[in-house]
Structure formats: C-alpha cells, structure tokens
Amino acid sequence: MLKLQNVSKHFKDQTILDNISLTIEKGSIVGLMGPSGCGKSTLLRCIQGFESYDKGSILCQEKVCLILQDFQLFPHMNVLDNITYGMRHVLKIPKKQAEMEGLSLLKELGLEDKAKVMPHTLSGGQKQRVAILRAMASKADLLLLDEPTSALDAQSIGEVVQLIKKLNAMGLTLLVVSHDESFLKMISTKIYELKKGMLLSQK
C-alpha cells in the first residue's frame, strides 16, 4: 500500500504539488491524468525519492520502481544482463539462478529471443517491456509508469494495455501517469486528475 498525506511542493513562488492525499491499495491500477507541466512526473519522482517535498508524508510498504519515460536501459549490457544485474548485484542471487529467472520473465512477455541482443536494436515497445522486466526482476511490486504510451505508436498502445493488465494479474500494483484519458480508462481501477498541483478524483 502506498499512502500520500498532504504532500506539498513549491518551487520559488510556484506551487507544484498542492496538499495531495492519495492511497493506492495493493493490487490496484491507478491512473493519474493531467496536462503536461501539471506536476504528474514530479509526484512520481517524489514517491521514488528523487525529489524532495516541503510538507506531508509518503508512506510506502512496497518496493517501488519508477519506469522512466525514456526507459534508460543500460546501453552497454545486453537485454538479459540489464534484467539480471539488479538480481545478481543487489539481491545477491547467484548468476545461474538469476539468468534462469530472467529468461523466464522474458518468455512471459514474449521476448525470449531478445535475451542476448543489445538494447539499441529493440523497438520502443520492446525497450519498455525490458525496462518493466528489469524493475520486476529487482522484486519491485509497485511500478510507477511515467507516460508509458508517449514513445509508442497507436498499435503499440493496445499492446501496452494488454501488458499492464498482465502485470496486474501477476500481482503488481501500478500507478500510471498519462495525459491520454482514453488510455487510462482502459486500464485503471481508479483515475485521478492533477490540475495545477491539486488532485481531483475522477471515478
């Protein structure tokens, strides 16, 4: 469960986040909508701990992983190494076991033939799936997705919808930020709108 209580953030005399309270239950998919510059990404970055906030509290019982908008796979490692690096060096899982788990994750998302290729050869949608797998491999159970459809064409968006539902079925909790309302409606159990730093409940 992720619980934000009265989180506020200011930059100079500008209010970026205004008294935001939000609870995300385990196993849900929450959508966060709003025009660019409304503070959506900032909110995700606060949850991940990349940015500080002035007031309020963020309580998180899950292991959070922010999937960055441009994915930021490690370009000098192949796909499997991208996925298993965290397992091996952070979670200290032995190499063989990590690679077996990594391969089965890749298989799960239909990328088993990409295990040994370098990230720059992947399409946008494939990069995104690898980034998500990398987060899952690090045993994150709350994924923060920042504009997951922004780098993709219309056909891939349909695939992202399937993907997000599948991740949810696998037990992950997701907080998805997007400016695309119809996309969020397809996936979310609850949608919030962020307007000028204030959080409005949609449904």
């Binding site: 991940q48 701990g49 990349f50 959070v64 992983c65 922010l66 999937i67 960055l68 441009d70 930021q72 796979l73 490690f74 370009p75 000098h76 690096y85 965290g86 060096h89 952070v90 370098m118 990230p119 720059h120 990398r134 987060a135 690090s138």
Partner: protein, 209 residues
C-alpha cells in the same frame, strides 16, 4: 648500423616503463578526480590542479620535480620517481577533463535508473556509468596515451637513457644526427602504431551501439 639500431631499441623498455607507470597514475587520478569534479559543486582545488599542469610546460614540470622538489620535501627523488611524478600528474590533468566531460555526457536518466534498482553508488559508477564513459571517451583517451608516450622523450633532459637519449649519444659519438634520429623516430612511430592498433581493437570489441 645493426648495432646502432639495437642500441637505440634498448631504450624502448625505458620509454614503455615511463609510459605505463605514468599512465596508471594519470588514469587512476583522472577517474577519481574526474568523478569528484563531477560530484562537487565547487571543484576549485581540482580546477587549480588542472590549470597548473596544463598551464606550464611539461619540460618545466620535469625539471621542477627533479631539481627543486627534493629541496622542498627534504629528500632526493630518483630520475624515475621525478619522471613518473611529473608525467603522471601532467597526464592526470588532461585525463580529469576527459573523464569529467564523458560523465557529463551520460544522460541523467542512467543515474536515476540505477537508483530505481537500488544499485549502490560504488557499483553504479563501476558497472553502469564508467564503462559508458570510457567507451565514449576512448578516442580522446587514446590521444592522451599517445601524447604521453611521445612526451616521455623529455625525461632525457633529467638524465634518463631512453630512446631519445640513446639517439643523442650516438649522434654525438658519430658526428651524424641523421641515422640515430631516424632510428629513434621510427621506434616512436612504431610504438604509436602498436598503441593505435590496440586502441582500435578495444574500441571495436567494446562498441555496443
């Protein structure tokens, strides 16, 4: 003629020794201080170090290390110690700038991605950031290493018997500069070609995108 060539080639080991040790000093300091310069908001001290070593001739730095420094620190330095000190620090000054520029060219997102995966700072630098930096900066680093190799010729002025010094000995002995300087020149040229080959090989093997 054959003996002359062998005599001058006898200096190759000395030249390589100075190059390798100075390179190790320059490269380690370059990485360490390059990272520190990147992390520091006001890297005045590092910038001062760079400005001193880039702002004065290497010949002067070598002479200073051998003739003046012992007076200041109270004990003598061998030619080798003074030589690698000056060459190593001089090279470090350039390497710091190369590494620093390389780090600055890595997208901020790479650091953030490492943090989202809870990768420790040490591992992030070692496995995520520095390999990309070195890959990007390989041509600049190759330049610096080649320059360093040729600059070791300056240690002949503080008395080291390297390729250059041996050529000068022969020239003085035979009253003929043409042959010894050609042999010395060819030795340096071949050494640089070998280095270039090695760097090209590394670059090809390492190239990932």
């Amino acid at each position: 003629m054959y003996n002359d060539i062998l005599y001058i080639l006898g200096g190759v080991g000395v030249t390589l020794q100075y190059t390798v040790v100075s390179l190790l000093i320059g490269f380690s300091l370059g990485i360490l201080l390059g990272i520190l310069k990147f992390l520091s908001k006001r890297p005045y001290l590092i910038n001062f170090f760079i400005s001193v070593f880039r702002g004065t001739p290497l010949l002067l730095q070598l002479s200073f290390a051998y003739f003046v420094l012992p007076e200041l620190i109270g004990f003598n330095l061998s030619v080798f110690e003074a030589g690698i000190l000056a060459l190593g620090l001089n090279s470090a000054a350039y390497m710091i700038e190369i590494i620093w520029a390389g780090i600055k060219s890595i997208p901020k997102g790479q650091f953030e991605a490492a943090k989202t995966l809870h990768i420790s700072s040490f591992l992030m630098w070692k496995d995520i950031i520095l390999p990309q930096v070195l890959n990007r900066m390989m041509p600049a680093l190759a330049n610096e290493v080649i320059t360093l190799l040729k600059e070791t010729a300056l240690i002949s002025v503080i008395g080291e018997v390297d390729i250059m010094r041996r050529a000068q000995y022969l020239a003085a002995e035979q009253f003929n500069y043409f042959k010894p300087l050609c042999i010395a020149g060819l030795s340096y040229y071949l050494l640089v070609q070998i280095l270039t080959f090695i760097f090209n090989y590394i670059q090809k093997r390492w190239h990932y995108a």
